[in-house]
Amino acid sequence: MRGTAQWLHKMAADSEPESEVFEITDFTTASEWERFISKVEEVLNDWKLIGVSSGKPLEKGVYTTGIWEEKSDEISFADFRFSITHHYLVQEASGKDGKEELVEDVLPLSMQDLLCMNNDFPPRAHCLVRWYGLREFVVIAPAANNDAVLSESKCNLLLSSVSIALGNTGCQVPLFVQIHHKWRRMYVGECQGPGVRTDFEMVHLRKVPNQYTHLSGLLDIFKSKIGCSLTPLPPVSIAIRLTYVLQDWQQYFWPQQPPDIDALIGGEVGGLEFGKLPFGACEDPVSELHLAATWPHLTEGIIVDNDVYSDLDPIQAPQWSVRVRKADNLQCLLGDFLTEFFKLCRRKESADEILGRSTFEEDGKEVADITHALSKLTEPAPVPIHKLSVTNMVHSAKKKIRKHRGVDDSPLNNEVLNTLMLFLFPDDADKLTDGSEARLSTSRNNPPPESEEYNLYSQFKSAPSDSLTYKLALCLCMINFYHGGVKGVAHLWQEFVVEMRRRWEKNYLIPELANGSPDLRCCLLHQKLQMLNCCIERKKARDEGKKPYTSDRSPSGSSGDTGKAVDRSGGDYQKETEKERGEVGKSWESWSDSEEEFFECLSDTEELKGNGQENGKKGGTKEGNKESANLKPEGRLHPHGKLTLLHPGEPLYIPVTQEPAPMTEDLLEEQSEVLAKLGTSAEGAHLRARMQSACLLSDMESFKAANPGCCLEDFVRWYSPRDYIEEEVVDEEGNRVLKGELSARMKIPSNMWVEAWETAKPVPARRQRRLFDDTREAEKVLHYLAVQKPADLARHLLPCVIHAAVLKVKEEETLEDIASVKKIIKQIISHSSKVLRFPNPEDKKLEEIIAQIMSAEAIIARARSLKAKFGIEKCDQEEEKEDLERFVNCLLEQPEVSVIGAGRGPAGSIIHKLFLNAQRMTESSDEVATMTSLDEELKRSGSSDERRLNLGAVTDFPPPAGRELILRITVPRPAPYSKPLPQRMYSVITKEDFRLAGAFSADTTFF
């Protein structure tokens, strides 16, 4: 379709009467080479690199402080692909007006840059920037996965292409091609301007020819390369930088050592406590110190540097700058802890699999060995003692494991387990009778509640830092690291679950959890524990209320059934306790199978009692409100202000009501899903209201019980006061009276409120069916806990561990006060609060968070290492100390830091000392003697020359690891009458690398 339209369009165009004469240029026979050149030109055009380049002279240090950017494209020569990249320093747009004033024969910017001395030896830059001082250039290099350009003819072909492209386009930006293997970083290039050209050439060798190791040799080669016959030649300007490397920190051995776990368990808590995360690097985080001594402006003839003598003494250098090399793959304790814990998340095994026993096996054995089973029955069950100590409990749990596994090699030994359990459940320590056990100090310094730090848990969705969940997370983290990894984790978790069940059965509240229903801002596991606590609390209240309950009831009950009810409840109670005992006994043996039958009974007792009571009353309630007014009120909480019932005129009482069911977020999710599934239709809405009316009904029943003879209006006045509308009216006798009635919506016939009111019987809360079945909910939680695999646990608790790690980093940072770490911490918090709040965060995002924490730790470790090395602590002069601190902070944040006062400043003299010590170490064997006398010697000796004499053969510095030189001159080339043009040569000599990078410009006008 589309094609046809175009075709028609074309036809129409062609049929126009005007005919033009076209000049035909034939490109059909263009070679690959020509096409390549045109492609290069096209790219240069696209990037707008054509024409006179303009820009301000370079400011000092702008190569470091400015922003470098690059643009890339791909071009090909036949089927060989190249990448073409434009590297440039981002500059403010220079005034365009200035451009027109430019005279035609002004040198291209790049040629001017060759001579600019403001950005020599930039600490971090592209190698071509370092070698030629360029602010802008284009590089053509073989694309990724393409072979290097090796043969000389190919190199020449490329260079010619460049030359032609530059000539054709008038582009003044230097264009380089990369030749030879990538690692050699060999480039050749060209820059063209009006009547001038600069050739960029390079020599790269593995070994340094002897004559080029010093300045005089390099000057010779530079001059011969220029080949200028001008006499006398103007002096060459020279910049030199010598780099010295310090690797030996022997005199400062790294103080941090992995904490000794045995000492910890033995009670002697060293650097590490339960509930605290370790911190710091295990090795020196600073591996090398590089000192660069620079002579930025020398002129030929001022100094001597040849194969026999050199004036280049680093102590005398006018500029010093230092950079530090970070240790690669630095091992840090906190980071390792986190990483190892995170690895747990990927384990697939269940706790049982890890602990090496399968439930199947176990069951099979027990069934097979009937005699054993029988003897087990007859054996006295390990009846729990009321004042059960943790040790006792741990032993029993351990015995269980031992029994199942047949060998006594549970991952955690008794001592460790005891310490852990005491740490997690300090309330058990209080219950210990023997008192010989050491109490754990409860004075953990937590941030005060309401502080920003304390509330971090709601951002991380972890748990408060003083909660059991948080402590558990830290314990598991430590167990995972020091005590048998995942096995230890599985073991501790099992013990933890056993303890949870014990507490449920014994009505012991779980310590260190906030009261009330689950805090939805915390992690699910925390909510589950809080839920269990709610269940325990209710069960406890019920059990404790039982005894007074029965005695309380006999006088209140007027019906003949009372005696029976008491009997019954008494019996129930007894039965219950028996069952409970049996239950407890059973649980010590095996808690993994369901005990529902027992627990159902337990929960039913209350109801039975309720029913018993109710049966006796039924006759009365059925007859309606007026009769029931004679009933004794029950379950009153307190009078509701001055309100009185509308009809009998008695005070209106607020009843004791059932508390709403606590919910964890998963239950809530379930429930709201059920509610949402009912849809948005009227029936759906009705059903939804009905499902939720249990609470309303319960409150109505309580209200009726507390206020015999009441009506719906009374209830509404308490429950929804705005639905009882009072108006002042004037009655027949002319008096103003308040007249009240239900609101319109409450008067809708058979609306749910009315309906509920009609079905509600006067039953006090304590005899109502429970809205919240704590027994069932507790069992659900315990089951949930029991089936958690170590990986699930790790996922649940990872937010707590990250939370703790952030607090740890924060705490350590305050000691050091490092701006960049403060920034990272902020980032971590905002990042984490985004990632951790959603269910099932991606592993990649979690890894990022951990990596951020690790980088913060590494920076702090590095800061400490540097502070130790520069002896900041030992420094007594306040001013000097501040300077040093500033210097160290700069070292952490900048790639290279200049040393104020060079070798003579406070930092400089420390660096000098460091080198001197290292030198002495390598040179002399009796280190100790030398080291002690060193300081005094340094002070005593006045000038460096003197010192040099004193020390004799031992020099202060090792031979430089790198020598860089830049030689510059402006001379006419190629002939003495040509235009004077910038010439430059850069050389670098390292241990196994020698490079000369020359830029030689020539006047092309007559050549």
């Binding site: 977020e665 948005t680 009316s693 929804s720 705005r722 639905d723 609101s743 919506r745 409120w753 959603f838």
Partner: protein, 206 residues
Amino acid sequence: MDEDILTTLKILIIGESGVGKSSLLLRFTDDTFDPELAATIGVDFKVKTISVDGNKAKLAIWDTAGQERFRTLTPSYYRGAQGVILVYDVTRRDTFVKLDNWLNELETYCTRNDIVKMLVGNKIDKENRAVDRNEGLKFARKHSMLFIEASAKTCDGVQCAFEELVEKIIQTPGLWESESQNRGVKLSNQEEGYGERACGGYCSML
């Protein structure tokens, strides 16, 4: 059907009993007004898809009961909500005075701190106004909320209120997730849907 929905948002309506929360919702979802709407028990739920600036958003709106006693039940539904509409009755000062309590509640139970809040003064059709517009405005400014006065009865401002709220939520980065972003299963379903459509288009051309 659902393919072009950008995101599903959870919106909550809270406020004292009888201020017209359910009426506002009914007006918004069904464009009707029922002067005799029964008092809500617990929470109710409605869904509506709206389009704001070309972005389709599915709103799951939870309407809550305002009675004091239900308040122990409803806050659990605050979880995960991206937007909340806080309603008061302009003819009843007490419903305005209680707003602080509702904000506290929100602060306590809401799981995110960047939730978008909108204050709606309802029942402006009535004559016996007791709360001045400026008071509402001042309150909203103090607590960084959106503010509008509305009437579920006359339809004034209702649509606008919901649209404004949704727009604000969508403009808040990190508050919502695009449907296709977090749910792998959904994404693949979507792609299948597209595939079918593409095929259908091709066939009809032939």
